[in-house]
Assembly symmetry: C2
Homo-oligomer: 501 residues x 2
């Protein structure tokens, strides 16, 4: 067995070190399993793999609660073993997605900032039964030093009767000190979260646990299954350019300070392109208050443009991870990981005034956003933290390419086939075509700006035609729609393979 | 002219007392006018009436920004004069509604907590040019004692170059001391809002202004145009009963404290019925953290059940107003009015854990809510504060009767014709039929609970049939919809006058 005794700093705890199989044996069918992990970072690996093996033989299921998406050793392995009854709050795994969309897994798609408190309140179908969290080390006092993400780990540990700690020897000990763990009390006793800047520390560098609360400790030597980032394409580059121009103009008009406000950016290639694009921007002394810290942040740090980045997960590409490890002594001064209940908290997002930048699947001419569903029915990933930030940001952006599937789909439609963010929540839309600044506009005003500035020329006349006929048919109603046609673009795509007529 | 000199406590300010006509003359076409007022309470009356007269002669328009809806002397008079180009953030006026739905007025429907900050940020099309606020009195220092609502008054006064104060002699001086005015600084300098209980005072009992900043003072003797509350009908009584039973059960299961958590309740008859219903409930030591304080709150205070009510507006019925005035010395100890930026703030709502209770126009089987649009196109009132509370509450309820228009409309539909609150934001639905507790459920699970517990029997088989066929057609996709039929109920109603087949 891998020797983790130096990382388990209280020798009395060495007696609790067991194999992954032994630990997995404590899990009972139907239990709520709360794990660490947020993106393929910091999730447990050994115990889930052992649990999956047991499930294949014994045929049973559990409910899996995580921070967000996790790696293949957890989501992938349990899916393959058909071991998940209910999954929450977010996922990006191919196999899970399929099972969510064929009725094999019930999926509860939640705002990421809500998960820990809903679990504590007992709103998700009982409490967390077992917490499984990945650790760099366990302190003398039995507290847990997390690894590359914090997610909901701290709250799950606090709630669970059974705590399994996976000590991962591939995670560098230099991660110690990069966490700030704070679990709010519940109403009526909750206090203000005292964060006013991205780098304010308000908690402990470990997950409070204690020697007695730990049930098992399991060694693990599997690294985070990080993935390469998609190359930055022309569309993403164009969107990044539009954003920078827009922000510059806001500064010029006194609507933003010169060093902007704390940046939040979603995951994926557009988000990464936007952050990377800032390297060549005139902005300095930037700060980041976000969920996921990707490669682009290292570029900004290296360029001397980023003073501090607060997130809940550190998810570079494989090259980014190497780069991070090679220079960890420097990067760790400028990066902090917090529980997602804090990184995504509306209170903090609104107070510090994040610039919220997320990617949409589609948006409609009146400014509603679909972040989750393909053609209104199939779950893609989930809402994630986009709603936490979009609703509460100082300025809220949504990005998307104007078309998808080689032009067969317009990402700007008459009516979204599913709505995750409403017209009340978005300030600015950006596609590779341009920027639609809809602040303060009525729906009919918004529609023209969105069609003219963001839609693809192939679809602009069709959208305008829809709008004009809807205005006529409804006598210029507040939100002119032709209900018979509102979803016809999606229907046409499903029937003919294109939204074009 | 009405003598207001005793209410204008700095005699140097007496020179600024002018007629409504004189004050209204300072307003130029195209200006952004920010007024006090939230529901028909505390809005200016004399200057708007004079402005409307001027508009009829001179034919010009302004943009009207208020707290929320206001009385007929403001919305009604300006609408009649065709004097409003853009209206925000909320309204309930018949004439304005018509003009919003025929293209004569551009309407920006905003979360009420967002308005003041968006105005300060310069996001609504320039800054407030003129603030017109109703006052009980003006202090020695030139600060403004508000009347029956606070809304956005304080922030508008802070921002405006021109400040017109309407001193209303019908508003009792006992209102002094019932306000708590706090204007947050803007990012990056904003600090935590230090409210932890409904009765925490954090600001001043007046709107900070100062002698120099006041442009004109206008006397007024028109009372708030308060309206009778609709009688509590059987549906509302049934919903109130379901709510109390549900809350009792939450307490029994340890998911709520015995005295509940601070209650937020929307406006209108259902909301009032729910609050009144609590008089006969077992709950004690209740507190309220809401927008609008209606008659039901007096019932609770009289019954000794309410320890404190915080709101932004005091809007009793005509009888309620009499009752309030008759016992103002007692009621004023238990009621506080705050700016809507504070009463509706997500930070506070989430921290203190409000129980959010609002009324929907319709909701769908998957848990999305329409609060604003009739048949997807016509604006009813606006989202108001419902989103501020629904997203951030400890527990979020939406109420509606299961049918409307005598049964011709099912308020539970396959897909909402407009969405203001998404599936991610609601915990519990209540109709006169029963309670759908959808916490932690997947969309397909939610659909069955909603159909079985909330829908009207006339529509239950149709909804279930839709769900089952959608499940079949999509192979049990995450959110099974038949896009061809999703809005067909609304279309059928518009074509045939009923959603029934
Ligand atoms: C919306 C989201 C799926 C976009 O991700 P992305 O990687 O930038 O998007 P892509 O352009 O690669 O598109 C993903 C898929 O959706 C498809 N797609 C894109 N736009 C589409 C549209 N309008 N209609 C249908 N499908 C569409 C793409 O073709 C692609 O399909 P494929 O996997 O079959 O090739 C992703 O950002 C997300 O999950 N967001 C929600 C959560 C979130 O915002 N998290 C951050 C919060 S902090
Ligand atoms: C949703 C809202 C309009 C309901 O108000 P209400 O007074 O309880 O509702 P009513 O039952 O009287 O219905 C109002 C109208 O909508 C119609 N209506 C109700 N349900 C309907 C439906 N499903 N489809 C179409 N029309 C419907 C009613 O028939 C009525 O029409 P009428 O005026 O022509 O008679 C109101 O609560 C609102 O504006 N909410 C949004 C803002 C908010 O929530 N504020 C509180 C936040 S703190």
């Amino acid at each position: 067995m891998i020797d983790i005794r130096d990382r388990v700093r209280n020798s009395a705890l060495h007696a609790k070190i067991v194999s992954a199989e032994e630990a997995a044996a404590i899990i009972k069918p139907g239990m709520n399993i709360g794990t660490s992990g947020f993106t393929p970072a910091g999730y447990p690996k050994a115990v889930p793999l052992a649990l999956a093996e047991r499930m294949k033989k014994e045929k049973f299921q559990v409910n899996l609660w995580t921070g967000a998406s996790v790696g293949k050793e957890l989501d992938g392995a349990l899916a393959e073993a058909n071991g998940i009854a209910k999954r929450l709050p977010y996922q990006t795994n191919e196999a899970i997605r399929k099972m969510i969309n064929n009725g094999s897994i019930q999926y509860t798609d939640l705002h990421l900032s809500h998960v820990a408190q809903m679990a504590r309140y007992g709103f998700l179908g009982g409490k967390v039964d077992v917490a499984i969290v990945e650790a760099c080390a366990i302190t003398e006092e039995g507290h847990i030093i997390p690894t590359t993400s914090l997610g909901n780990s701290a709250s799950f540990v606090q709630d669970a009767d059974i705590v399994i700690v996976e000590v991962n020897v591939t995670q560098p000990l230099e991660l110690e000190g990069m966490h700030d763990v704070y679990i709010p009390k519940d109403p009526p006793n909750r206090e203000p979260i005292p964060i006013m800047k991205a780098d304010d520390r308000i908690g402990t560098p470990y997950i409070p646990c204690g020697v007695d609360k730990i049930t098992y400790i399991v060694p693990c030597d599997l690294p985070d299954a990080v993935r390469p980032l998609a190359a930055i394409d022309d569309d993403a580059r164009a969107m990044s350019g539009h954003l920078i121009e827009f922000l510059n103009n806001e500064i010029k008009h006194g609507r933003l300070p010169k060093n902007l406000l704390p940046l939040q950016s979603g995951v994926g290639s557009v988000a990464n392109a936007v952050i990377s694009g800032l390297v060549d921007s005139p902005f300095e002394n930037l700060s980041v208050y976000t969920e996921v810290i990707q490669d682009g942040m290292f570029d900004l740090i290296d360029a001397g443009k980023l003073t501090f980045a607060s997130g809940t997960s550190l998810t570079p590409s494989p090259e980014g991870l190497k780069r991070f490890y090679a220079n960890i002594a420097e990067y760790r001064k400028k990066i902090l990981l917090r529980p997602q209940e804090i990184s995504n908290n509306p209170e903090v997002a609104r107070r510090i005034g994040v610039i919220a930048m997320n990617t949409a699947i589609e948006f409609d001419i009146f400014g509603h956003v679909n972040s989750t569903h393909i053609m209104g029915t199939k779950m893609m990933n989930g809402i994630g933290g986009s709603g936490d930030f979009a609703r509460n940001g100082y300025l809220t952006f949504f990005f998307t390419s104007s078309v998808a599937k080689g032009g067969a789909i317009s990402s700007i439609v008459p009516m979204c086939s599913h709505i995750d963010h409403t017209e009340h929540d978005v300030d600015v839309f950006i596609t590779e075509r341009g920027v639609a600044d809809v602040r303060g506009l009525s729906p009919k005003e918004r529609a023209r700006v969105i069609i003219n500035n963001c839609a693809h020329p192939d679809y602009q006349p069709m959208l305008l035609d829809y709008l004009e006929r809807a205005e006529k048919a409804t006598g210029l109603a507040h939100t002119p729609h032709l209900l018979e046609e509102a979803l016809s673009w999606h229907i046409r795509f499903m029937q003919t393979g294109t939204m074009k007529k």
